[in-house]
């Protein structure tokens, strides 16, 4: 078994930046485009994903010795679907307004490739504690991506954040149209790529100089 050697802090940071599920791994794009039009949506869906990821990771890593390898994938799906149903029921009961804004996406967490992927590559090989931190990292990474998108779109679209008016005008109404999500994700991915290119160039220069 390939037990991870990374520290817990590293696991979280990986999920946030170098393995960010939205901008780097390009998984679970649907909510990133569909409902990232406000910061609040991003935070709430982020919490839901964090919850599902952490609980599924822990469950699988606890049960990993009892799961027969041939029914691995169905078991993952069952575990994820159970936790998704739980969070779906809880959100529908206690935050009905926000739940309505997120619509079908809460239920669709079950189809997010990111969660199954983390279970397959990490949780089923590692003990509970690293799996927990890996789940936290991926969940917060997703939330970070959603909040970034939400901030850009809400500020440009409505001139405010979290529903509070900041500058009094609406700079670019276009950005709260749902389809602007495509453009936003494209631009932010390009920025990530640019940073990577510049970083590599600097590294190369430094190695030549040495």
């Amino acid at each position: 078994m390939a037990v991870t050697k990374k520290t817990n802090k590293q696991l979280v940071l990986d999920g946030l930046l170098s393995e960010n599920p939205i901008f780097r791994l390009a998984l679970s794009m649907c909510p990133a485009v569909g409902i990232s039009s406000s910061v609040m949506n991003g935070i709430l869906l982020g919490i839901a994903v964090l919850f599902v990821q952490v609980f599924s990771s822990c469950t699988i890593s606890l049960l990993k010795d009892y799961i027969h390898p041939r029914i691995r994938i169905p078991t993952y799906t069952l575990v994820i679907a159970t936790w998704v149903t739980v969070i779906d029921l809880v959100l529908a009961a206690y935050v009905p307004v926000a739940y309505k804004a997120m619509g079908i996406f809460v239920k669709l967490i079950v189809a997010f490739a990111i969660i199954t992927m983390r279970l397959e590559v990490f949780a089923c090989k590692n003990p509970v504690v690293p799996s927990f931190w890996d789940g936290v990292g991926m969940g917060t990474g997703f939330m970070f991506g959603m909040v970034t998108l939400g901030t850009v779109r809400e500020f440009l679209g409505t001139g405010g954040l979290l529903g509070h008016d900041l500058i009094g005008t609406r700079p670019l109404l276009f950005f709260i149209l749902p389809l602007a999500g495509f453009f936003c994700v494209g631009f932010i991915m390009a920025i990530f790529n640019y940073v990577e290119i510049v970083y590599k160039r600097m590294k190369r220069k430094r190695s030549i100089a040495q």
Binding site: I67, L89, A93, P178
Partner: protein, 306 residues
């Protein structure tokens, strides 16, 4: 073979555990969900009546629901069945008033159900089934809420839905006893944000306020820019203290009271859909309430809102 049995048993156990977890969460959250939904509806209603938060609500404000059913008897002819709250001593009970399609009184039956239980559709259905036995069948049509303040009838609240530009729009209307509009709230819609989605903004929905019943029957949508002072007046939640004096409010209100509805820029169809929907809702309700009220008075039904 042994392996397969192990796998099957493992899967069955995990399914059972998962089912138990979900069932447990469901039983816990179901009650909370219903309560919160009820509270949200109540808040919308009180907001429409002008009470911003729960503290302002007077103690003798009461909300009573009237449920309308369509009853079909064995020969296929249809009747209207109104489930009307009545005073029984200090308690509130319900009677079923059966009216023919022209609004003539047919019969009256006591229904054994409390107002709390009447909120739940399945409970009402089973209570009605005890009175309306096959071959008589019935189906639920709509609900109207009467708000009373002390002995006085304050307003009617109508939940309803109509077709918008894209899909149906759900709305709630508050009417005064003579069917003029007190307020309009858009509850659910799927119009485009920034365009048709603006129907939920105050500067659109507050335009319906203060229109009298006669004015509503002839209400139209006009494609003119919304005057600045009127827009400021409509956006009540953005008012700063002392922005408008009492006289100013009265003059603006009088000036625009008889105006048609100013269309939202870029969303004339959505604006028209809301206007027509509201008109239709009020026309039907006023007609039915007139008939029902006549029956209640003639038959001396001790309805709670009289």
């Amino acid at each position: 073979m042994k392996q397969i049995i192990r796998i099957t048993i493992g899967l069955v156990i995990s399914c059972l555990v998962a089912g138990a977890v979900m069932g447990g969460v469901f039983t816990v959250t179901d009650k909370a969900k219903k309560r919160n939904e009820h509270l949200a509806v109540q808040e919308t209603m009180l907001g429409l009546l002008g009470y911003k938060d729960a503290k302002q609500v007077p103690a003798d404000l009461k909300l009573y629901s009237i449920y309308r059913y369509i009853i079909t008897d064995g020969s296929g002819s249809q009747y209207l069945g109104y489930l009307v709250p009545v005073a029984e001593g200090n308690e509130t009970g319900y009677v079923l008033l059966k009216l023919d399609l022209q609004g003539k009184f047919i019969s009256k039956k006591n229904i054994d159900i409390s107002p709390e239980k009447a909120r739940e559709a399945p409970e009402r259905e089973s209570a009605l089934k005890a009175v309306l036995k096959p071959p008589i069948s019935f189906r639920y049509a709509d609900e109207a809420i009467v708000a009373t303040l002390g002995k006085k009838r304050l307003a009617y609240l109508l939940p309803g839905e109509f077709l918008g530009f894209k899909t149906t729009i759900k709305a709630m209307l508050a009417l005064d006893p003579s069917f003029g509009i007190v307020g309009l709230d858009i509850l659910e819609h799927e119009e485009d944000p920034g365009l048709g989605g603006e129907i939920e903004q105050e500067y659109f929905k507050n335009q319906f306020k203060d229109k009298s019943y006669d004015r509503i029957t002839k209400l139209k949508v006009i494609k003119e820019p919304l005057p600045d002072e009127y827009k400021k007046y409509l956006e009540k939640s953005k008012w700063q203290k002392g922005a408008f004096s009492k006289e100013q409010i009265a003059t603006i209100r009088k000036k625009y009271q008889d105006k048609d509805i100013y269309a939202i820029t870029g969303a004339t169809i959505s604006s028209k859909a809301v206007t027509d929907g509201v008109k239709g809702m009020i026309r039907k309700f006023a007609y039915r309430m007139g008939k029902l009220e006549a029956v209640i008075v003639n038959e001396k039904i001790p309805a709670v809102f009289l």
